[in-house]
């Protein structure tokens, strides 16, 4: 499975887990356009932190090495890479590409279709 699809699979799984802890009206949908941070978002600051931590842990499990999302570069960008699931996926793809590590984890089939797009090399 392409890296980009695996990244979406992880982000959607993180959304599922976060949704378990959220009241119905605050639950997130699993689309690339789903807003995480900023205008139009439903999450409070604590839920955003929880989501980013979940995503970090799940990315580590998927790709078998730590993927630190909240690094200085992410925090200093004019447009946050955490605005939507789509911008997050792009940013994670960039991080994975730069890591240049062997991605060894074997993915399982995703429960939802993911955008057919490849943005990060292996």
């Amino acid at each position: 499975m392409p890296i980009f699809a695996r990244t979406y699979k992880v982000l959607f799984a993180a959304v599922d887990q976060l949704n378990d802890e959220l009241p119905l009206k605050l639950r997130l949908t699993k689309t690339p356009e789903t807003v995480i941070l900023g205008s139009g978002g439903k999450l409070d600051s604590l839920s955003i932190v929880s989501f980013l931590m979940l995503a970090e842990q799940m990315l580590e499990n998927e790709f078998n090495f730590p993927v630190g999302l909240a690094d200085e570069r992410a925090m200093s960008q004019e447009r946050s890479p955490f605005r939507t699931l789509s911008t997050m996926a792009d940013y994670i793809g960039q991080l994975l590409k730069e890591k240049g590590e062997t991605i060894s984890a074997q993915p399982v089939e995703p429960s939802l279709p993911v955008p057919a797009r490849e943005s990060a090399g292996t």
């Binding site: 604590l46 929880s50 931590m53 970090e56 842990q57 580590e60 090495f65 730590p66 630190g68």
Partner: protein, 204 residues
């Protein structure tokens, strides 16, 4: 139980695992926590006891010493709290105990940088206590008096005696005095206590 230090561990126990690393090496610390995440179900307690001192007059203290003390006592403490907090948050439970010092409230001359670094630890403890409370994690600190360790080996005896005389109980601390406070903070019954610093010896 897991521990880490720059030097090798001097004992072996079936329930103890040791990491050899410098806590100022952020990559090594991240790698250690990645290993803990991979190997263990979670992390319940973090005791942040690593620290270094600098006993010197401010006018004779090099900037490089200031950076080294701040890096070990503040930056590394923060990083340990952050990485441990990420793991603890998964189980919605955690106990973090940081190390302060009586040098801060006593405003000890000759310990400006050490006391300032530990003042930062007290502030970190208070704010992290609030930030991590929603995840079921408490963050507290113990502020020991001088204890006969390497940290004070170079301090003149006369200066130590003067320091002890400012305590309500004018004696050196024992390891058991410190572990008693730690035991109190990490007890399940202490779930309602966070952001606090307990100084030993009657210093406040």
């Amino acid at each position: 139980m897991i521990g880490c230090s720059r030097s090798a561990c001097e004992f072996v126990h079936p329930n103890y695992r040791h990491f050899n690393l410098d806590i100022c090496d952020d990559k090594a610390v991240e790698k250690m926590f990645a290993q803990i995440r991979a190997d263990d179900q979670g992390l319940d307690i973090l005791i942040n006891n690593a620290g270094i001192g600098s006993m010197n007059h401010a006018l004779m203290t090099p900037t490089s010493t200031v950076a080294r003390v701040m890096n070990t006592n503040v930056v590394a403490t923060f990083q340990m709290c952050r990485e441990a907090g990420k793991i603890m948050s998964r189980n919605k439970f955690g106990r973090i105990v940081n190390f302060a010092t009586v040098a801060t409230p006593l405003q000890l001359e000759g310990e400006a940088i050490y006391a300032a670094s530990k003042a930062a630890v007290i502030s970190l403890t208070q704010i992290l206590g609030r930030e991590l409370a929603p995840f079921g994690i408490t963050v507290n600190a113990v502020g020991p008096t001088p204890i006969r360790t390497d940290l004070i080996a170079a301090v003149p005896e006369q200066k130590l005696e003067a320091l002890l005389s400012r305590q309500a109980f004018p004696r050196f601390g024992e390891f058991s005095d410190v572990s008693n406070v730690i035991d109190f903070f990490v007890r399940p019954e202490s779930a309602f206590i966070t952001g606090q610093t307990i100084f030993l010896g009657g210093v406040s």
